[in-house]
């Protein structure tokens, strides 16, 4: 299977053009607003360059990655199997679903005062918040996938003649995998959110501290530099995840 198709180049151009046009709109719009409230991308770019040239942003980012990775890996290891269990096992589902739905509905910031009791204010607390936020997301998505998707897929398969175990292995398992990838993706997005929330709401640290310091100084350029760094980081990890998905379940990715 070739990665470069004939239409890959125009798509790529559109992708870049969209980014360029968006940045231009942001630039023009931000010029109309006082700098103390919002900064244009040109200023943010300078801040990003300076931040990395001085090493300040790189060091803070590396520090942030520590609890992000640890919390997310824990969340995947526990969340995916438990999601399958809750989705496929009737007893587990009815036992756990009310509690899971309840915890799921509350903004994670509300849990911060309670997490301090057991996890303190530093690294452990940040790992715990990243874990909680991505774990619950992975659990909910995987169990929904394991519960819901198979019936309709089986219906389709049966409509075209598939029977018994053959239908389960050939239809159900591949059908749940996209949900696992959705779960990983949303879990990762929530993990990045949790990473920065933890650094702002427990003892401030790493990128959270850089953000807070910039905000305190009304340095909107410095503040948005961290926001953009996280957005670009989020974009890259999602694209990487998409590439992995394309290798694992090629039938699921059309381009």
């Amino acid at each position: 299977m070739s990665l470069v198709r004939q239409d890959a180049v125009p798509t790529y151009v559109v992708y870049v053009a969209s980014l360029v046009v968006g940045l231009m709109i942001w630039e023009v719009a931000a010029q109309q607003i006082p700098r103390i409230i919002f900064a244009p991308p040109s200023v943010v770019a300078v801040e990003l360059y300076n931040g990395f040239a001085s090493g300040k942003l790189a060091v803070a980012f590396a520090g942030s990655l520590g609890h992000l990775v640890l919390g997310f890996v824990f969340a995947v290891v526990v969340g995916v199997p438990l999601g399958f269990l809750v989705g496929r096992n009737r007893t587990a589902y009815y036992l756990l679903d009310p509690t899971i739905s309840g915890i799921y509905a509350v903004p994670p910031i509300a849990f911060v005062p309670f997490m301090i009791i057991w996890f303190g204010l530093f690294f452990e607390a940040r790992v715990a918040l990243v874990f909680l936020m991505s774990f619950i997301e992975i659990l909910v998505t995987v169990s929904a996938g394991a519960r819901g998707i198979e019936q309709s897929y089986l219906d389709v398969a049966r409509a075209f003649g598939a029977r018994g175990r053959d239908a389960l292995v050939k239809v159900m398992f591949p059908a749940v995998l996209p949900f696992v990838f959705t779960a990983l993706r949303i879990g990762l997005i929530r993990a990045i959110h949790a990473m920065i929330v933890a650094e702002l709401f427990f003892a401030s640290a790493n990128l959270g501290r850089v953000m807070k310091d910039a905000a305190q100084r009304f340095d909107t350029g410095g503040l948005l530099a961290v926001v953009v760094l996280l957005a670009v980081f989020g974009l890259i990890v999602q694209e990487v995840l998409k590439q992995i998905e394309a290798r694992v379940i090629p039938w699921n990715v059309r381009d």
Partner: protein
């Protein structure tokens, strides 16, 4: 042991276990750190009887539902368009992927300049908090439809409409419902986050709860949010069954 198979027995058992663990933890660390359910339930009754909390909650939910409805109306078609068209995908994917990891908090000063601190602000924050998740899930679902199925349908001489109804819609339906559910949870969280900035509604009450030594008040509000989340989720499930009866959830009838 037949009674143990009943879904209501199982649910009650699950909730009872969660409450027991909570009460035990609460007694260990004390009311100032974590009030147990025996303290929170009377507090909740008092909050409801007092009338202020239900009134604030109703106001919060009104703006949340508006923001969420807008997010669904925009998010689902956009997600489907991205899933089925390479051009849409290339234009929107970088922005959706970046904005979904961007915390609403960093955009708050800008949003306030744009729409002030009133109803519009709260609706906008809810919209932003939920729309990208709805887009991404719909996108993932529509992209994941196996083109071979569409081909199979066509080779059985199914019309385009029939293909859509029998294959495309059933196949993407679980994703749309999952997206709607994830979006709803994010909308409820976004509602609280917005209200923690402008201190109105249920978020304003959560903020005031931080003043009290006892955590019973804060936890009573969190339980309220949980109840709202669970109720909304059940309502979506009901709507899902009504809109698409072919998508019968496996355990919905206790089968």
């Amino acid at each position: 042991m037949h009674w143990l198979r009943n879904k209501w027995t199982l649910r009650a058992l699950g909730i009872a276990c969660a409450l027991l663990i909570w009460e035990a933890l609460g007694r260990t660390v004390g009311e100032a750190l974590l009030a147990g359910p025996l303290l929170v339930i009377p507090e909740l009754v008092e909050l409801v009887a007092d009338g202020e909390m239900p009134r604030e909650l109703a106001g919060s939910l009104r703006q949340m539902l508006l923001g969420y409805a807008l997010a669904c109306c925009v998010g689902m078609p956009v997600g489907v368009a991205m899933g089925r068209s390479r051009i849409f995908d290339a234009i929107l994917r970088p922005w959706v992927n970046m904005l979904v990891v961007t915390s609403v908090a960093s955009l708050v000063p800008l949003l306030i300049v744009m729409v002030g601190t009133g109803f519009g602000f709260r609706v906008l924050v809810v919209f932003i908090a939920s729309v990208f998740y709805i887009v991404l899930t719909a996108y993932q679902g529509t992209r994941g439809i196996d083109p071979r199925w569409v081909g199979v349908g066509r080779s059985f001489n199914a019309s385009r409409l029939r293909t859509f109804w029998r294959i495309l819609l059933p196949a993407s339906y679980p994703f749309l419902i999952t997206g709607a559910r994830i979006g709803l949870v994010q909308a409820i969280r976004g509602m609280v986050v917005a209200e923690l900035y402008v201190l109105v509604g249920i978020g304003g009450l959560v903020n005031t709860a931080g003043l009290y030594i006892s955590t019973a008040n804060l936890l009573a509000l969190m339980v309220t949010l949980m109840a709202v989340g669970v109720t909304a989720n059940e309502a979506l499930r009901y709507v899902g069954r009504r809109v698409a009866p072919w998508h019968e959830e496996r355990y919905a009838n206790g089968a």
